[in-house]
Symmetry: C2
Subunit: 344 residues, 2 copies
Amino acid sequence: MARKAASAKDVAELAGVSRAAVSRCFTPGASLSPKTRERILQAADQLGYQVNRLASGLIRNETGIVALIAAEISTPYRSHLLSALTERLQQAGKVALMINTDRSDDSVEQALRHAISYRTDAAIFLSGMPARSLAETCLRNGMRLVLINRDEERPGSLRLRLDDAEAGRRAVALLLAAGCKRLGLASSAADTPSLTERERGFREAATAAGAEFIEERRGPTSYETGQELGMALLTQPNRPDGIFCTTDLMACGIIDVARWRFGIAIPDDLSLIGFDDIAQAGWEGYALTTFSQPIEEIAAKSVDWLISGEQKNEAEEVLLEPKLIMRRTVRQIYVSDTEDRRQQ
Amino acid sequence: MARKAASAKDVAELAGVSRAAVSRCFTPGASLSPKTRERILQAADQLGYQVNRLASGLIRNETGIVALIAAEISTPYRSHLLSALTERLQQAGKVALMINTDRSDDSVEQALRHAISYRTDAAIFLSGMPARSLAETCLRNGMRLVLINRDEERPGSLRLRLDDAEAGRRAVALLLAAGCKRLGLASSAADTPSLTERERGFREAATAAGAEFIEERRGPTSYETGQELGMALLTQPNRPDGIFCTTDLMACGIIDVARWRFGIAIPDDLSLIGFDDIAQAGWEGYALTTFSQPIEEIAAKSVDWLISGEQKNEAEEVLLEPKLIMRRTVRQIYVSDTEDRRQQ
DNA sequence: CTGAAAGCGCTTACAG
DNA sequence: CTGAAAGCGCTTACAG
């Protein structure tokens, strides 16, 4: 039993041409007479020939592989972004190598070494950061780096960020406009750049507005943490009536606790704003007012940058705007009762 | 600017040994004196050398890459499975190539061709099926195939299935035991092997028990379809009081519609059973009684089979049991009120 | 234990 | 337009 796929040599022999010719047949733009091309294509088809990307990658110094480096890849937001990225990559003729990390420097380094050993054309970081020295090694090898929502930059890389702080500020304004008297900030203890920025924006605006607020930060970024956050915030003697939660996943936990354990009416007795616009935020049971991450835009910009353009030595940076998605967890007091009905 | 990573040649020169020696240094079990190894390791470290898996894959006919072929990869169940698979693969020293399909034969074929061109050691199918002829080509090249929840088999491949029909049957029994008088079967129109089996088991058992039931099948497998299903089922003149929904995602949609649009109390006025045990099924707002897919077991069995063992010519098959997860969407009537309280 | 040499499957100047 | 030849970075018998 042959354990080898057909090679260019096999095709060449069958078609009665040189190995070079069959190579040209599969490299766009190479000169080849229509007749020869036809003969080669037919032979290739007959043999089930597929060019070996390992070999061609070795020669051309371009593998068509790009590494996706991320932690917690089954989380709603993360998996959505990964999906968008994978799809765009495929449309651009690239292929995605998924590498799971646990966010530790060690595992991120490990991931990047994997990427290097497969000579990926690029690496996209959704979690963690490559050490400066390793990043330089990558660049020297012609590998491109894109950093999504990371707080540092690396020379030669593309950095895509959201204006997280602005979202925190807008959340405060919104909550105050809804008549909330006592604000709450809920976040995980993950200390991820995006979360920290959202928190900072919130504190800044709340302080500037002279608003009273309390905050709770704990645990990993999860639904369960949301439940704990809800318990902590809602058992306070003077509990908040307007909460900004740095992540939808946690906000869902807060909503459930408020509703099912305390019977708190949302948005009448408690207004809540999340971040990410995960699918569940749009579910009827949550209808969460939140800020959406422009996932398709992030994915598009990332792969556009990867496939086009020359390598530069400065870092490029693009700042995207989260968009406010109004749903039904923030009380609307500006609209009178009758107008409210007319609007529906 | 050097655009090339350090190669074995560079390391060999720096360490004053042959290229063969540095190759041996990085292949487990190759004979090499401790002294030489030490010198090589040091040189490699200094140069930031990583063996080029493209070149080694070419020679050894083993790339360490395994393709994950799936549709709708950001769905809760799918992304969870993908995450487990990726993790196990990494632990086994392999790396995951993620390929997105849209389930059409065409895109599945495309995906497999991609896998072939990168000479992946294996392909794991979570969606779609490789055409018989293509599958044979793969096997001939020594590529291993694992099919998860697929209805056909392919010689030489591993097929992992769940006893979906049995779950459908158990759902009927459970609903009947809960005192439901009129059953409902809710499913998407996706015609996926797993769904069809779950439906079949339900119909079989319902018919055998002489139970009255209605069914609704429509749309893709999504939360939104669940909402439609809920509308269709709950607006019936004689609506069901016990529903088996072939997927948790859709079940969540049904719950929300029942609760928020019709004010139906769950489980008092409507019992509901799902399938998959996605994270949301465990959320406080749903607390969905459901069947769990043994995801970790599926992942473990898949990669164990891949890394160990000889290629055989018959297809192997393993049948896994979905496990009933009792939560709070099925009415409990066997337990008297006082006993009920004692149990808590 | 170690090295020289052949070979994996491709691409790409270089000539013609 | 086409082929012969060199070379990408590795591994692996084969000798010593």
